[in-house]
Symmetry: C2
Subunit: 390 residues, 2 copies
């Protein structure tokens, strides 16, 4: 059995993602395709535009066999830790090959990872962001920069794979059609970046993205509440204003006096200031916008350092959905996996494994108005019609 | 110097309040009139419709000489504790007479208080609310019920006064024109209950209350954000969903397992449920709506038991505004008061005395969009025009 993995956010699921799945199927026609997907809060420190069930469902309808939710404790993390969490779950599911998009699909990512090793560069220059310091060290080790977003993620996957004994064959696919961070839709093409699509959607132009997303996504976007930071900003503001410095410091990665800076900047802004304005005010040479946006999610979700540690030490596999082929893989893996396989959220699971994810779900519901975890069973797609549910 | 006190909420300041001030002036023409007023969160467990500065300003323009803010730790309390806090501050300001409205102005409130004594009735019947138990004990002691809202408050003032050595002469005024809890405006009258006026305003009919409030109030209401529970419900919901049972239990008066009941009821309601729906779901024979609404404010403001204790043990006098006559009284009292007189909120005062009030102000600002404490100086009304500020 060939098992191929993809690590994704699908925010939203668009034609570029569909293209990647089709390319994968072309290369590995008999493979079972496993996706580890972020839940409702994402790597760049923002809520997903539609919820995890909707995005998982889209993926399952477009050729994926099994969708596993990456715990939020891994999601809202810099690329290396995000990648390490995702690769760990792929290994547990018996995945042998990892397909990922790259700006330079010709790079030998495994070799690059070998050169980089376990980089713990000198990150103590306080007027330099972690991201910049990391880039500097990488360039020193490899001899050239690796600074395109998908290349960087690919390197992160390769590093995680190396640390877990190189169990994965890395399969970079040349990225097509759109720069990762492009925010404008290019006319005449049918692939655009997720950022560009989101920007368009936030101006309430669902119809205008119809060239860039599959029909299923278009339908979902049209009928659901689209979620953004604007929905959570009042809650984050409330949390920042009421939490003491001690409480803020207790949250994951809120260090180096950021608890003071975050509160102080907020109190000095007019009451009408939005999320971006606040984040720009907090930003410094030391802290990139994205790093701070992640911390903002951490604070919104009230994720403590102890909770992240707990999830890292005791990971689990939360199933969001599967096809018959995915179910076959599940049956095969059931007795081999060391991590708990979570299908339904019982009170016990909610308290033990899923504390953070469940809380994240309750908070996301405040904006999406759709139940996230309580009583939800995995989606089943591609079964005979009478049993299909989505 | 005759100093007369009034305890008020002015939510909003209306013709009934104006009438009370005029009656007081008629009876004590030379008196300095001191008002102890709730800040932005009120005795019945709700936010004030407009902020404390606006309401203090209205009172100062209508004949009051000095407005002192009742700390929120005293405001959001059952009548007895609310009254005890307010009477304590009046004593500190040298007040000799307390004027208050009553449904039965012919009651001898001091004598009633003497009969009631320090009631600590048998409140352990778990299918009976505190309010009902209190009423039962009062009726046993006095021989008749004292169950009209203003009469009850009057009795609470009398009891507080008795416990502080009867330094106040109690001056009940017959209440005019409207039942306390009436929610409909009576045509052809010019006095209506604050509840009726608020209900009308919440349907956005500012003009329709013009018979019932002074011109200054009408202007203020027309130009300001009107605040209600609806503004804070998303924040309370967020707080209830994210706080652990331990954290909730740590808040003032959240006892007897209410922390479980409050969370559980909320999680079972649809995402679109409003504040009232949730409160009705939590309500039981044991807990009245008002008691729970107060706890809701406590949780929203995250007021701990320790914080209430701190304020009770170390009270302070926060000045919201004064006239020249008020300032004269202040000058006279300055050296006699045992409590700190707070005019401006320094960092030190914010940390020591005003922790809860300052936090309450920050939260209220999220809805009112007007700065409440940072950098605010007391209002000065009735000075020569060049110095007047409001």
């Amino acid at each position: 059995m060939v098992v191929v993995g993809i690590i994704a956010e699908y925010n939203p699921f668009h034609n570029g993602h569909l293209y990647q799945i089709r390319q994968t199927r072309k290369r590995f026609p008999t493979a079972t395709l496993v996706v580890v997907m972020s839940g409702n809060f994402l790597e760049r420190g923002e809520p997903a535009i539609v919820d995890k069930w909707t995005r998982a469902n889209e993926a399952l309808h477009c050729g994926v066999d099994l969708v596993i939710e990456l715990p939020v404790a891994f999601c809202v993390q810099p690329a290396d830790r995000f990648a390490a969490g995702a690769v760990l779950l792929l290994r547990e599911m018996g995945v042998q090959k990892l397909v990922f998009g790259a700006e330079h699909a010709d790079y030998d990512f495994a070799a690059l990872a070998e050169k980089v090793g376990t980089v713990h560069g000198d990150f103590s220059r306080y007027n330099e962001s972690f991201a910049a310091a990391y880039q500097r060290v990488i360039a020193e080790k490899i001899g050239h920069r690796v600074d395109q977003p998908n290349d960087m993620l690919g390197l992160a996957y390769a590093k995680a794979n190396r640390e877990m004994g190189n169990f994965l064959e890395l399969v970079p696919l040349q990225r097509m059609g759109a720069a990762h961070h492009a925010t404008v839709l290019a006319p005449g093409k049918n692939i655009a970046s997720a950022s560009a699509i989101r920007a368009q959607l936030m101006q309430a132009k669902t119809a205008s993205v119809n060239n860039y997303v599959p029909q299923q996504t278009l339908n979902d976007l049209a009928k659901q509440q689209l979620v953004s930071w604007a929905d959570f900003w009042p809650l984050l503001r409330y949390q920042l204003l009421t939490a003491t410095h001690e409480q803020l410091r207790n949250f994951y990665d809120v260090t180096e006096g950021l608890e003071f800076r975050m509160k102080e900047k907020l109190e000095r802004l007019p009451q009408t200031a939005d999320f971006e304005t606040w984040l720009q005010a907090v930003k410094s040479k030391r802290y990139t916008y994205t790093h701070l946006a992640r911390l903002a999610v951490i604070i919104l979700l009230q994720v403590t350092a102890a909770e992240v540690k707990h999830v890292s030490e005791k990971p689990y596999l939360r199933l969001l959905g599967f096809t018959p082929a995915g179910q076959q893989l599940l049956n095969q893996r059931k007795k081999k996996v060391a991590f708990p396989l979570i299908t339904r959220v019982t009170q016990q699971i909610r308290k033990e494994q899923l504390q953070v994810d469940y809380r994240a779900g309750l908070i996301y519901e405040l904006a999406s108005l759709r139940v996230q975890d309580h009583g939800r069973a995995p989606l089943r797609v591609g079964y005979s019609l009478s049993r299909e549910s989505h």
